[in-house]
Symmetry: C2
Subunit: 243 residues, 2 copies
DNA sequence: AGACATTTAAAAGTCTGACAAATGAAAATT
DNA sequence: AATTTTCATTTGTCAGACTTTTAAATGTCT
């Protein structure tokens, strides 16, 4: 692990990168303890605050955790599924909100990915997953539900669908696509008739899951995609007409 | 933006979280300048080093950038596709290498996702993408290619396929699945016969793309999945037999 | 007046040295 | 032997100073 004091980059960034690559390459193993901050500042010939800034960068990426006390120090983290998942959602949300990604593009990607899970999900769905989907459909049918609650329930429904595939990698990848769209979906006002159509499609999808009929699930998702895009188009058009 | 000095968490973590949520919620806009470090340390009643540690956490996530000089300071970053992409690949790689995710699970997810792109990719593929795929197939046919180079070419081929869909969200999501598997693939030794079979399947996929026949592409991907998994199984079995 | 050089102020980057708080291990006491 | 106390180690935080970078303001010359 070496750094170049003459480089243009910040020292703390260089040090963070040196340690990060040692972790990613496997040079440092999970739960292994890094040298103390004093030792690191000695090794890199910088002050302790500089080392600390570097360590904070790594902590922000959940690559290390720190612990105080006599046997404390910085330890290499096992990347937890939960952390990576949260990161994934944050990143995807910001990408969608800050950049010029249209609702249509996001919607297209989301449903394409979701259909990718259809076959596995239909084949492997558990009674639990099915029950969750039914329960969310029931909730979505309740009158007086706010649009936000309706959207949140929608996300839960689709997460149950994705999780049914029983593949953690798929669940992880889909997290971004499904949850990142929630802020966009929240901008939509759902009329009673809109909700009825969505609930009907959800029911068809759940029926397909129950029958383990992946083609039906896939078809339901495609129709839901069309419905969602049409809804968004009309909402955005109406909003553009009278600001 | 407030913090609780009595909380168990580090002050720098709390401050980072306060600013982060201001950014994600849109309270702070892209390219907006944050207060100077001195002002922030005043506002939160902490020292400047503590504020700096918080800012480094955010910088590590590419949420802000800092600039020195008279008009310098910390600015809210527009999340660049490239940064999010790199982050996505790092996270996915660590998840796969550090946790108990089997080759089969990763492989299943990857090809399911890739098939999700097939229809759009076949419909929208440009001449450029097709040319890239053909060129990589040609490279893969060269004798004397190292296994690493073969894998790298494989990644390029599949990235071209995914990018053909013309949907940046799909490209982003797939990045993790495809590139994170490269280290796993690199553990495989490809015999000449293995390579020939893979090249044949790649050719069928490229032919399907040229004919804009998404069913053929999808079928090609499924067969490639079977081939890859069988290959991995035999390699791992052989490795287990004689260590 | 306009172009160029100089000064200056603001801000991040870094360093030194210190103290506080947490924590586990060793030593002392009961 | 069990419990309490002490102690060394390590991270967390602070204060203050100095350096470097940067751009704007100022001054100077043509």
């Amino acid at each position: 692990m070496k750094i170049d004091p003459d480089s243009a980059a910040d020292l703390s960034a260089q040090i963070a990168e040196a340690i990060r690559s040692a972790i990613v390459s496997g040079e440092l193993n999970v739960d292994e303890r890094l040298p103390s901050e004093t030792e690191l500042s000695d090794h890199f010939s910088v002050s302790r605050p500089t080392v600390r800034e570097a360590l904070k960068r790594l902590a922000a990426q959940s690559l290390i955790r720190t612990q105080r006390g006599a046997t404390g120090g910085a330890f290499v983290n096992r990347i937890r599924y939960q952390d990576a998942y949260a990161d994934q959602v944050t990143n995807a949300t910001l990408l969608l909100s800050m950049n010029q990604i249209s609702f249509d593009t996001a919607c297209e990607a989301r449903f394409a990915l979701e259909r990718a899970c259809a076959r596995l999900a239909a084949a492997r769905r558990s009674a639990d997953h099915l029950a969750t989907m039914r329960a969310e459909i029931h909730r979505q049918s309740q009158p007086g539900l706010t649009d936000e609650a309706f959207c949140a329930s929608d996300v839960t429904f689709h997460r149950a669908l994705v999780d049914s595939a029983g593949n953690p990698v798929l669940s992880y990848q889909l997290a971004g696509a499904v949850e990142a769209m929630q802020p966009l979906m929240n901008m939509i006002t759902f009329s009673a008739r809109d909700r009825a159509r969505i609930v009907a499609l959800h029911t068809r999808i759940a029926d397909g899951m129950e029958a383990q009929d992946d083609v039906a699930v896939s078809r339901g998702l495609s129709e839901l995609e069309d419905e969602t895009r049409a809804l968004a188009t009309s909402v955005f058009a109406a909003r553009a007409a009278k600001p």
